[in-house]
């Protein structure tokens, strides 16, 4: 499958058009849900961290520091990717699967179009290059949500929280987060595309394929998360 996907696109202008359409469908249309979840989870992370760091000699700025690290290292790249595996993965499988069962993919093939390349490559490129921006937005909003929650609850002062956010920042953690995001973005585009492209039957089979795609994408993300973390952060 991947050999056909990565062939040279038949027409550059159509390919560029498809990439922008996929960026809109898969990326921009996901920003709303990502922003909403990130803001509130950022708030919850701060509240829980503050409630657990209740020793009077523990400096309060650690709440900001711990929240930042958990958002950059794990919450935004991994949890948001699993959420996107559900939202975007099911969309990819059902759209391609419906095209398969209604013979639209056969129509493309009869015209002499490499349907895998035409349908899947723009999705992979849109995902791999746009998701890092979505995750950066998620990290930023998570940190902002934490700041709002800290102020509203009075568990951490604005000055302490900002001090924690700025202290001992390790740039490689952000690089690690972006590498993970790009790998997960590739998985989110390919596994559902595969499930949709090779579906046989009708509406029920497309539904089953969507479920299978989300389950397998989530499993692969979790397993890859372990190995990538070991490879990139392990000593």
């Amino acid at each position: 499958m991947l050999k056909e996907v990565f062939k040279r696109p038949q027409k550059g202008s159509i390919f560029r058009e498809s990439i922008f359409k996929e960026i809109e469908d898969l990326g921009i249309n996901s920003i709303g849900i990502v922003a909403f979840i990130s803001f509130f989870v950022g708030g919850v992370v701060v509240i829980q961290t503050a409630l657990n760091l209740d020793n009077p000699i523990t400096p309060k700025y650690l709440i900001g520091y711990a929240s930042r690290e958990s958002l950059i290292l794990e919450f935004s790249p991994t949890l948001i990717s699993i959420i996107l595996a559900g939202k975007v993965g099911s969309y990819i499988t059902s759209s391609i699967g419906t095209m398969r069962v209604t013979e639209q993919i056969d129509a493309l093939e009869v015209m002499g179009i490499n349907s895998l390349n035409y349908l899947v490559l723009p999705k992979i490129i849109a995902n791999v290059f746009f998701y890092p921006f979505v995750i950066i937005i998620s990290i930023w909003l998570g940190i902002f949500g934490g700041w709002v929650a800290g102020n509203l609850t009075g568990l951490v002062s604005s000055a302490d929280y900002i001090m924690g956010i700025r202290s001992e920042f390790e740039p490689f953690h952000l690089v690690y987060s972006m590498i993970k995001t790009s790998v997960f973005a590739f998985v989110i585009a390919t596994i559902p595309a595969y499930q949709g492209f090779y579906v046989k039957g009708g509406a029920i089979e497309v539904g089953n394929a969507s479920t299978r795609a989300v389950v397998w994408t989530s499993i692969v993300i979790i397993v890859l998360n372990y190995f990538l973390t070991q490879m990139l952060l392990g000593k």
Partner: protein, 258 residues
């Protein structure tokens, strides 16, 4: 012209096509008929290269399909138009975008040239003022006409139709049949239609091939259909009550005459 030699195809050990030979000439409408499961769709998909046959050759104007390079196959497919049973229109695109798609993909025409061509073919299939509609907003007959417009927009040399009348009322079926025949004559296209509609056989079947259990049982013209004593064809034709009654009336008339 399309020639088929000794075409064989099996699925999971079941032989679906058994040594089919056929010739389809330019400017003629050929019908492949047979009951459901007779192998018509597999036959058509083999001709289109969507299914790889185990044995046999498909020859497009002297060129054997299986011996063509990838580029040659792609070039050949630009000369092929296909009308699918369910129309297979891109459902998130408008009528105009559907018909324009092959032009966008394979030509360097300006937008004005493309839209002129799109309007011409939509006009040709008697579908005006539907450019901005989505397939879901159209009736079955209109969807078939859009599919025909998309199939002919690149001026194909070969036109394939898989049960173009399925799900249509008799009047619309006749309109679609006549349209396909007119286009075939007008552009000297090699047209192959899969059908089990006897009206189509009588209206436009210049050449008819009957498939039964993957075997070519009979070949002839629509005039010869009612004169044949081939049992399989007689069974197929007179399985329709209407034709059965017509035949009984004809026999009664013949008997009273003699």
């Amino acid at each position: 012209m399309i020639e088929v030699r000794n075409l064989n195809k099996e699925f999971d050990g079941v032989q679906v096509l058994k040594g089919i030979d056929a010739t389809f000439e330019n400017g003629k409408t050929s019908l492949v008929i047979g009951t459901s499961g007779s192998g018509k769709t597999v036959f058509l998909k083999c001709l289109l290269g969507l299914i790889q046959p185990e044995k046999g050759d498909i020859i497009y104007d002297g060129q054997i399909y299986n011996e063509m390079s990838g580029d040659e196959k792609r070039d050949l497919k630009k000369d092929i138009g296909m009308v699918f049973q369910g129309s297979a229109l891109f459902d998130s695109s408008t009528v105009e975008e559907n018909v324009m798609f092959p032009l966008k993909m394979f030509t360097d025409q300006s937008y004005e040239e493309k839209i002129e061509r799109v309007n011409f073919v939509l006009d040709r299939v008697n579908l005006e003022n539907a450019n901005k509609k989505f397939p879901a907003e159209l009736s079955g007959g209109m969807q078939k006409r859009v599919a025909i417009a998309r199939a002919i927009v690149m001026n194909p040399k070969y036109l394939f139709c898989d049960e173009p009348n399925s799900g249509l009322d008799p009047k619309t079926s006749t309109v679609i049949d006549n349209l396909i025949q007119e286009i075939t004559k007008e552009y000297n296209i090699t047209t192959i239609i899969n059908s089990h509609d006897m009206n189509s056989v009588m209206e436009i079947g210049e050449k008819i091939i009957l498939l039964k259990h993957g075997v070519k049982e009979w070949e002839g013209t629509n005039d010869e259909v009612f004169k044949t004593d081939n049992e399989s064809l007689v069974d197929f034709v007179y399985s329709s009550n209407l034709f059965k009654k017509v035949r009984e009336a004809q026999l009664k008339q013949d008997n009273s005459g003699s």
